[in-house]
């Protein structure tokens, strides 16, 4: 493939832009220069590390090392879900619900894509498996974090209405249905927006990357479409699973609303 390699000086020039805006912030006393530079530095280190690890993994093509890398990605994403809960489930529960729902959804969708559509040889070839999993994980993670947050927030705000339904003989699932719907709508909003706006407003990063790497636009589009469908499927599966487990945890087997199981009660 014909693509233009970047050398270290090209990167230095790009980094100069960051330094430039940091100087601007200093000049205007905006106080964002420190955070901006630190984040940029962190980004550079993380990506350099990932580049090294990926190079090694691509050489090995080992199912064990690939699986281990995938597991590490899932665990990191689970931590992110936990960190985004405000007055929601207790940390361990948020981590447990989020990680297991994400593991289930992302693994299912990634293996589906690898074995039936992309079909690399072997199917777990990290060059395909890890980027695919990464994209699906990133979106599923956001969906689950949003869904769980909206669920716990909604249950708190609409407690009186939920308990009114329970008092009239509704089961816990029926009483929680309005908040369940709101949580899933919130969880799926970003991916639905992305599906609708893709191409018109934004060119997806992966497609841009492929085009820059010399792939024909129509070929890149096909890849992007597949990825978008996988992401939509994975996010929905993950969010539905997490929200349903969340509803279960927020209620008990006597069909009571158990807000006492949330942090800060």
């Amino acid at each position: 493939m014909n693509y233009i390699r970047l050398d270290i000086w090209d990167l230095a020039l790009a980094a100069l832009l960051l330094l430039g805006v940091a100087a601007l912030s200093l000049l205007l006393q905006l106080r964002i220069e420190r955070r901006l530079l630190l984040a940029g530095l962190r980004c550079a280190l993380q990506l350099a590390l990932v580049g090294l690890v990926l190079t090694k993994l691509f050489e090995l093509v080992s199912p064990w090392w690939t699986g281990l890398a995938a597991l590490a990605m899932v665990l990191f994403a689970g931590r992110e879900i936990m960190a985004r809960q405000e007055r929601g489930f207790h940390a361990l529960w948020a981590y447990g619900i989020g990680t297991s729902a994400m593991l289930m959804a992302a693994a299912l969708v990634t293996v589906f894509a690898l074995t039936t559509q992309v079909k690399p040889e072997p199917w777990y070839d990290p060059r395909y498996a890890l980027p695919l999993l990464g994209m699906i994980l990133g979106n599923t993670m956001t969906g689950i974090a949003l869904g769980l947050q909206r669920l716990t927030e909604g249950a708190r705000q609409q407690r009186a209405g939920i308990e009114a339904l329970l008092c009239l003989g509704a089961t816990r699932r029926k009483a929680m249905l309005p908040v369940t719907r709101q949580a899933l709508t919130t969880a799926l909003m970003p991916i639905i927006n992305a599906l609708a706006a893709t191409g018109l407003v934004s060119l997806p990063g992966m497609m841009t990357g492929q085009i820059l790497a010399g792939v024909e636009p129509l070929e890149a589009v096909k890849y992007q479409l597949m990825i978008m469908f996988m992401i939509a499927g994975g996010t929905t599966l993950g969010a539905v699973t997490a929200v349903f487990v969340g509803v279960h945890r927020l209620t008990d087997n006597r069909d009571r609303l158990r807000l006492d199981r949330l942090a800060g009660e």
């Binding site: 609409q158 407690r159 009186a160 209405g161 939920i162 308990e163 009114a164 339904l165 329970l166 008092c167 009239l168 003989g169 509704a170 089961t171 309005p178 008990d252 087997n253 006597r254 069909d255 009571r256 609303l257």
Partner: protein
């Protein structure tokens, strides 16, 4: 009908009493004494311990949704899950008669629930609970926000249901109302429930 033995939960000491079909117990006590905690425990809305039997059947042998349909609960500030009033009833049209008796204006259904007055919502929540034909009804200040005339209408409607066998457990802060509606009067303070007659006897 309702047999309560050693019912307890945080904030409520073990409590035992019986409520017969068609009977009414009035409960009074200072705020924060545990009146609402007791009602919520009876409706099984919060974790609690002890034996509660309905017609001799322990409640853990009755699915919770069915239990709450038979032992209805109308809180002091009833909740609403939709802005459309009719959605809260199985058959809103069938409520025209009882609604008129409770002096609810026929246009109530055309307004959003949040635009109804506190008193209207209180009475509508009572109708909503009665629609499921409970055998026991737990009432938390059902006439709290009502004037004398509407209070009398609510009391009359409930008395009629009582003569058909409905048992009432009625929380009120009004001593005269307690004497009017109930043959047995309980007093609760710091989570300790006592029958008022016994309390009077002890004082004497």
């Amino acid at each position: 009908m309702l047999t309560v033995t050693n019912l307890s939960r945080p904030g409520l000491e073990p409590t035992s009493f019986e409520l017969a079909a068609g009977a009414c117990i009035a409960l009074r006590g200072p705020s924060g004494a545990g009146k609402t905690l007791l009602l919520r425990a009876l409706a099984d809305l919060d974790p609690n311990e002890g034996d509660v039997l309905l017609d001799g059947v322990p409640r853990d042998r009755i699915p919770a949704p069915l239990w709450r349909r038979r032992v209805g609960y109308v809180p002091a500030e009833p909740g609403w899950w939709s802005e459309r009033l009719a959605e809260h009833f199985q058959d809103w049209d069938a409520q025209a008669g009882p609604a008129r008796r409770l002096k609810i204006s026929p246009s109530a259904a055309e307004r959003r629930v949040s635009q109804l007055s506190t008193g209207e919502r209180q009475r509508l929540a009572l109708l909503r609970a009665l629609e499921h034909r409970p055998e026991v009804l737990l009432l938390d200040e059902p006439t709290g926000p009502l004037d004398e005339e509407t209070t009398a209408a609510v009391e009359a409607l409930l008395r009629e249901k009582q003569s058909n066998g409905l048992a009432l457990f009625w929380v009120t802060h009004d001593k005269r109302q307690a004497e009017r509606v109930a043959e047995r009067r309980f007093w609760i303070d710091s989570g300790r429930l006592r029958e008022a007659a016994l309390e009077d006897a002890r004082k004497r």
